[in-house]
Amino acid sequence: MRNCLKLLILIGLATSLASPILGLAGDAGTALKTDTIRAEPFADAKTVGSLAKNDAVDILTKKGAWLQIKTKKSAGWVRLLSVKRGASSSANNGKGVIDVASGRAGTGQVVSTTGIRGLSAEDLKAAKFNEEEMKKMESHTLSARDGQSFASAGGLNAVKLAYLKGAK
C-alpha cells in the first residue's frame, strides 16, 4: 500500500516535471524578430551571433526570460519573446491541410453545434440573459482582502512595477 502510494507520487512527479511550460529540449521554433544571440542569458553577455526574423531555431532550454537556442549558424541565448514555438507558419498551414483531409478539423465543427463544445453563432443567436447563472457568478465575488489572503497563502508578494510603453 505504502509503496503503491510512493509509486503514485513518483509517477505524479515525473509527469509534472515532463509537463511542459515550454516544450522539452530540441523543440522547433521560429524567430519572431531580429535579435542578438548571446553567450549567456544576460543582457550584457557577449554577443555570439544574430537572429533574423523567420529563422528556424532549435529550442534547447529555458531560463527565466531567456531561451537557449541553436540556429544553422550559431548557438546561444535570446530573449524569450523573440522566438515562437513551432515551425514557421507555412509549415503550420501544411499541417492544417492534413488535418482537414483526415477529418480532424471537421470534428470540432460538428460538435460545436451542441452549444457546449463551442460558442457558435447559433448558440449566441439563441442566447437569453440568464439570471440564475448570473446570480451564481455574483455569489463568488471576493473582496480585495480575500485576494490578499489567497496571495499570502501562495507566497505571492506584490511587486512595484510601472506599465510598459507601447512600442512603435
Binding site: 530573449r79 507558419s89 478539423a105 463568488h140 480585495a144 480575500d146 511587486v159 510603453k165 507601447g166
Partner: protein, 320 residues
C-alpha cells in the same frame, strides 16, 4: 441590434470575438431601450431639446406613452423615475449594470462550469491580480464557462469570463493570472465601454433623438451602423496590444512569473488554424505571433531587474 452590441462588448475578449452574422434577442438590448426611453422622457418633459416629441399628438411615440393624458403631470407618468443612462460619462454603477447585462447574456449561451471550487479559485486569482490595478475598487467577478473554444471575455464594470477550453490549456497559476490580467486591463482601460460610447454619442445626439421617436429598431440601426462596421471597430489591435502589455504587468505585480500570458499566446499560436475552437479568434484578432512580437518589443530589457516571479504550477486547480 442586440447582436451588434453583444459583439461589440465581447469583442475585446482576449483571443477571440463574436462576429455573429445575424441579429438576435439578447437582453442587453433592454438596457439600450431603457436608455433611449429615458432620454425620450427627458425630451418629453421639457428637457434640453425642444422637439416634436413633445407634441401630444405625436403618433409615432406609442412605445413611451402611458395611458395617462399627455397633459397629466409627467412625474406621475414616468415614476418611479428611472435614472437616465449617462452615456457621456457613465457612473461606475451604470458601467456595472451594463456589464451585467452583457455577461448575463453570454452566460445564457454558455453557463458556468458546475464546479464551485473552480469558480472560487478563478475568483481568488482574478481578485488578487485585479488588486494590482487602478480599479481595485470594482466588485470584480470571474467565471469559467462551458465552452471548448479557446477564449476569454471582459465586460464593463469588472466581469471576466474564461472558457473551459482555454482553462484546460493552462499549466500554471501564472498563466491563468496572465490571461485574467489581459481581461482586467480591458476593463480598467474601459476599452469596450469606449467603443459603445462612441457609437451612442454619434447616433443618439439629443437633436436627432426626437426624429427617431418610436422607431426603436431603426433607431438602433441608425446609431450602430452595419454589422460589418462594428466588426471592424471591434478589431482595435492597439487595444489588444495594450491589454497584453498591461495584463503582463498586472500579473507580474501580483508576484507571478511575467511570462504566463506569453506562454498562453504560444499555446494559442500552436493551435491548428483550422480548428473550430480558434476559428473566430484567428479571423478577427491579431495573430498570436504578432502579439508576442509586440509584447517583446515593449518588454525589451525593462523586466531584467525584476526578481523572478512564481509560476505555481501545483496550485493550478485541476478540472476533472
Amino acid at each position: 441590434m442586440n447582436k451588434l452590441l453583444f459583439s461589440l462588448f465581447l469583442a475585446a475578449g482576449i483571443f477571440g470575438t463574436f462576429s455573429i452574422p445575424q441579429a438576435q434577442a439578447l437582453d442587453f438590448g433592454k438596457v439600450l431601450k431603457d436608455a433611449v426611453k429615458d432620454k425620450v422622457e427627458e425630451v418629453k418633459n421639457g428637457g434640453e431639446t425642444p422637439a416634436p416629441a413633445a407634441s401630444p399628438n405625436n403618433a409615432s411615440s406609442p412605445a413611451v406613452e402611458t395611458s395617462a393624458s399627455p397633459a397629466a403631470t409627467p412625474a406621475v407618468a414616468t415614476s418611479p423615475a428611472q435614472p437616465e443612462f449617462n452615456w457621456k460619462n457613465p457612473s461606475q454603477q451604470e458601467e456595472i449594470a451594463l456589464g451585467r447585462e452583457i455577461t448575463g447574456s453570454l452566460l445564457g449561451a454558455a453557463p458556468l462550469v458546475k464546479d464551485e471550487a473552480l469558480q472560487k479559485y478563478v475568483n481568488q486569482v482574478g481578485r488578487w491580480v485585479a488588486n494590482q490595478s487602478e480599479r481595485a475598487d470594482l466588485p470584480w467577478k470571474f467565471g469559467v464557462i462551458e465552452s471548448n473554444d479557446l477564449n476569454a471575455f471582459a465586460a464593463p464594470g469588472g466581469y471576466v469570463l474564461i472558457t473551459k477550453g482555454l482553462y484546460q490549456k493552462l499549466h500554471s497559476e501564472a498563466q491563468l493570472a496572465g490571461v485574467l490580467g489581459h481581461e482586467i486591463a480591458h476593463v480598467v482601460k474601459k476599452h469596450q465601454l469606449k467603443v459603445l460610447q462612441k457609437q451612442q454619442l454619434l447616433g443618439y445626439g439629443a437633436g436627432k433623438l426626437s426624429d427617431l421617436l418610436g422607431k426603436n429598431d431603426k433607431l438602433a440601426k441608425k446609431a450602430l451602423g452595419t454589422g460589418a462596421e462594428i466588426s471592424a471597430r471591434s478589431l482595435d489591435k492597439d487595444a489588444e496590444f495594450e491589454a497584453d502589455r498591461m495584463g503582463m504587468i498586472l500579473a507580474t505585480r501580483a508576484g507571478y512569473d511575467a511570462y504566463g500570458l506569453a506562454d498562453v499566446l504560444q499555446t494559442i499560436g500552436q493551435t491548428n488554424k483550422n480548428d473550430s475552437s480558434v476559428a473566430l479568434l484567428f479571423k478577427t484578432h491579431p495573430a498570436p505571433d504578432e502579439r508576442l512580437a509586440k509584447l517583446g518589443d515593449s518588454v525589451g530589457g525593462n523586466l531584467d531587474n525584476i526578481k523572478a516571479g512564481k509560476t505555481l504550477e501545483n496550485r493550478l486547480y485541476k478540472l476533472n
